[in-house]
Chain length 413, copies 2
C-alpha cells in the first residue's frame, strides 16, 4: 500500500533542522510493508500545507504528518486539516483534564494557552501522547487515512509505536517489502557494478541500489512480494549471487559497521590491537573505539605526528626516515612493528601519508598514504592514493586501514 | 525568490538514510536570501521523479536536486531531466578525459561504466566536481533554473560552495541579506537566551536564531535591507550587543571552527600541543589535526585506553589509579602533565571519562569526564557530566577540552 509523509515546520525548510522524523516514519512504514512514495517538508503556511495535503491525498492511501500541533500561533496543522476535510474543531473536556493533571503532577499550573490542545477535529480517532500535550489525530475518509502527529521526536515516536503501528498493521493488505543491505569496502561503485551486472538477473519485484560513501559501497536489495517470506526468499537468491561474485569485499550486513565487525572478530579470537597514526591524527583510534566494549581489545595508540614522535614513541630508526622519508613503505612498516611491540598487542595498524593540502611532491602527491598491519606472523604494507581532499583522504585512510586489519585477522588477501 | 529542493534516492523514502543534503541546501539557499518552499524526497522511479520535477517547475523559479547522477543503472536523474526538458544527452570527451586522469592519479584503471558520466544534457552549464565523477548540471530555461547535484554529501557541498552559490548570487535580485554567525561553546541554548533576551532590541528586518549543536550554540543574525551596507550595519549593532552580554562564550565567527581558532592562537604564539586521550580514543587528536597546517603546532599524542598504557606511556603513577581510579581529577592531571613532559610541548590536554554504555556507577555515572590542560604555569582540571550517549559524550568531551585549551592559551577563565 502506498504512503506519503509530510513534515511541517519553518525550521525544516530553512535547513536549520534536519528532518529525522521523516526518515523514522519512513523506516517504520517500510518495515510494515508500505511503499513510501514521497517525504515532503513544508513550512508553517496554511496555503502551502493545504496544497501539499490535497496533492498527497490524490496520490496515496495513507498520509502521516508531523509538526504544527503545538499550542502557539505558528502551529496551524489542525486548521489545515479542518479546512481540507470540512470538519469542525470540537472541544474535548477529558483531554483538557488530562493535560491539566499532568501539569499538576509536575507542580506547574497549566498555562492557559494549552486549552487549544483540547480542540480536535470532529470524528477523528485520537492517539494518546504520553509525553506531551499534542494528541495524535487520525481521520479515515473515503478510503484514505490521514494521521497527524506532533513534531517533537520523542512524542512522535511514542505515538507511532504505541498507536500508529498497531492501527496500520490492521490495514495494510498490500505486498510485503523486505530490505537487506550488503556492506562492502575497498572497491569503488563502478568496479563493483562491473562485477555484479554481467550475470545479474533480478527476479520480478526485486531492486538493487548502490549506495556509495567514502567508507565503502552498500548494496541494498529491496523485494516486494505477497508475503514477507516470499520477499525474503527473493532477496536471499540475489544475496547469494552477490556473495559469489564480490563476497571478498562484503564485510557485513544491515546494521554492521566495519569497526563493529572487527571488534567482533578480535573478541571472538581473543586478540588485541593498537594503532600508530600520523596523518589521520587519531581518526583510526576514534573509529575503533566508537564501538561499545572496545576496551576488551583496543589497548592504545600513538599519534606520531612529528618525525621525532615516530622515533621516540615507536622506535622508528632515524635512518628509515632519513633514507625513505616519513611517508614510505619502510616507515609504515617500522611504525606498525614498533607500535605492536610498545603496546604488546596481537595486531598493530599504522598510517602515514600526506593529507595535504600542502606537502605533496610529484613523486608523492597529496593523498599518498602507506598503511601497515603488523601481526605475530608478518607485516603487510600497502600504498594507497586517496585523493587531494584532506578530510576525504583521512577518512579513506581509516577505512582502508580497518579493511586491511579485517583481512589480516581473517587471513584473506 | 522561491526555490524548492528535491532529494532523490530509494534509501531516503525507505528511511534508511536521513536527508542531510536537503537541510544543507536549504540553509545555503536561505542564507542567500531565497525562500525555500518545499523539500521533497522521492525514490529512484522515473515516473515519480518526472512528476515531482514538473510540479516544482510550475511553482518556483529555482530547483536544486541531489542524487541519482552516478554511473549505475539505478541512477536515472539525467534520464528524467532529458525527458522533462526534451533534450538529448551529449557525450563530452573532455569530461571523460578528466575522470580518466583522476582515476590514473589514484593508480586505478577507470571502469568502463564511467563513460556514462560523460553523457550530459545538451545545453546545460556544467559545474566541476573536484571529488567525484558526477558533474553538477544546470539548465536555465524559460525563467526557471534547474540544478542537479550528486548525492554524495561532500561532493554536493563542494559543488554548492564553489559553483552554485556564486551562480545564484548573480541571480537573486531581492532585498539584500546579510548573515553573520557568532559561534559559542560551553553554554546551553536556554542559558544563552536568558543572557541575551532581556535587553535585546532587534532592529526592523533583523532576526536572531539560536542553532544548538553538541559542539555549541551558534547565534545566527539575518538582516534584510535595501543594500548590503545597510544590512551589514544592522547586524553589527546587534553583534556588538551580543559580544557585550556573552562575549566570553564566543570563540569565533562565520566559518571559524574551534580547532581553527586554536590553531591560529598556537601559531601566533609559537606554541605546541600534545594530547592524552582515554575515552575519546583519538577524537581530540583527529579534530585538532583536521586543520591544514596543524603540523606546525600539533606534536603528537597517546591513546591510553588501558591503565597500563596510562602508566607506561604517560608516566601516571599506579597509586594514582589505584587510589582515585582512572576516571578522576588526579589521573587527568597526571595524564596531562605526563603527556606534556613526554612530548615536550607547551600545552598538553588529557581526557579521561566513562563513555558507556557500561562502566558507570552511582558516584561516576556514564558521561562523567575529567579534562585537564597542562601548561608551563599550571594544570587546570575540570569535571564534566556529558550524558549517557557514548557518541554524544565523546563529542562533547572533545569540544569541552578544546574550549579549555583556548581559554588557557588566552589566559581567560
Amino acid at each position: 500500500m502506498d504512503a506519503e509523509i509530510i513534515t511541517i515546520g519553518e525550521e525544516l525548510i530553512t535547513g536549520h533542522t534536519t528532518d529525522h522524523n521523516g526518515a523514522y516514519i519512513a523506516r517504520t512504514l517500510t518495515d510494515l510493508g508500505f511503499s513510501v512514495r514521497r517525504i515532503t517538508s513544508v513550512g508553517d503556511s496554511l496555503e502551502a500545507m493545504e496544497e501539499v495535503f490535497r496533492d498527497a491525498l490524490r496520490r496515496v492511501r495513507v498520509i502521516i504528518t508531523t509538526g504544527g500541533l503545538g499550542p502557539t500561533d505558528d502551529d496551524i496543522t489542525k486548521k489545515a486539516i479542518v479546512r481540507l476535510f470540512k470538519r469542525n474543531l470540537i472541544y474535548h473536556e477529558e483531554v483538557l483534564e488530562d493535560i491539566r493533571r499532568r501539569y499538576a503532577e509536575r507542580g506547574i499550573d497549566m498555562p492557559a494557552i494549552n486549552q487549544n490542545q483540547a480542540l480536535l477535529p470532529q470524528g477523528a480517532e485520537l492517539f494518546t501522547n504520553k509525553l506531551g500535550s499534542a494528541l495524535g489525530i487520525c481521520i479515515s475518509e473515503q478510503g484514505r487515512i490521514f494521521i497527524s502527529l506532533p513534531g517533537v521526536p520523542v512524542e512522535m515516536r511514542q505515538i507511532m509505536n504505541d498507536s500508529v503501528v498497531p492501527y496500520l498493521q490492521g490495514i495494510n493488505k498490500g505486498p510485503s517489502l523486505f530490505v537487506r543491505k550488503l556492506r562492502t569496502t575497498g572497491i569503488i561503485e563502478s568496479k563493483i557494478a562491473e562485477m555484479v551486472v554481467p550475470e545479474l538477473d533480478l527476479p520480478e519485484g526485486v531492486r538493487l541500489a548502490y549506495l556509495p560513501a567514502y567508507s565503502g559501497v552498500d548494496l541494498r536489495l529491496y523485494a516486494e512480494a505477497d508475503n514477507e517470506l516470499e520477499a525474503r526468499e527473493k532477496v536471499q537468491a540475489v544475496e547469494r549471487y552477490l556473495e559469489k561474485v564480490c563476497g571478498k569485499y562484503i564485510y557485513g550486513y544491515d546494521l554492521d559497521t566495519l569497526e563493529s565487525v572487527i571488534g567482533q572478530l578480535l573478541t571472538d579470537n581473543d586478540k588485541t590491537v593498537s594503532v600508530a597514526e600520523s596523518c589521520t591524527g587519531g581518526e583510526l583510534g576514534r573509529q575503533l573505539t566508537s564501538v561499545p566494549g572496545s576496551s576488551a581489545y583496543f589497548v592504545g595508540g600513538v599519534l606520531s605526528y612529528t618525525n621525532q614522535a615516530k622515533i621516540e614513541k615507536l622506535g622508528v630508526h632515524p635512518d628509515v626516515i632519513g633514507e625513505h622519508g616519513a611517508v614510505s613503505e619502510e616507515c609504515a612498516r617500522a611504525m606498525a612493528e614498533g607500535c605492536r611491540h610498545e603496546f604488546a598487542t596481537d595486531y598493530a595498524v599504522s598510517i602515514t601519508g600526506i593529507a595535504g593540502p600542502s606537502g605533496g611532491t610529484e613523486e608523492k602527491p597529496v593523498g599518498t598514504t602507506y598503511i601497515a598491519v603488523a601481526s605475530a606472523h608478518n607485516t603487510r604494507v600497502k600504498l594507497f592514493r586517496l585523493g587531494a581532499d584532506r578530510s576525504v583522504n583521512r577518512h579513506r585512510s581509516v577505512y582502508a586501514a580497518m579493511e586491511m586489519l579485517r583481512r589480516e585477522i581473517l587471513d584473506i588477501d
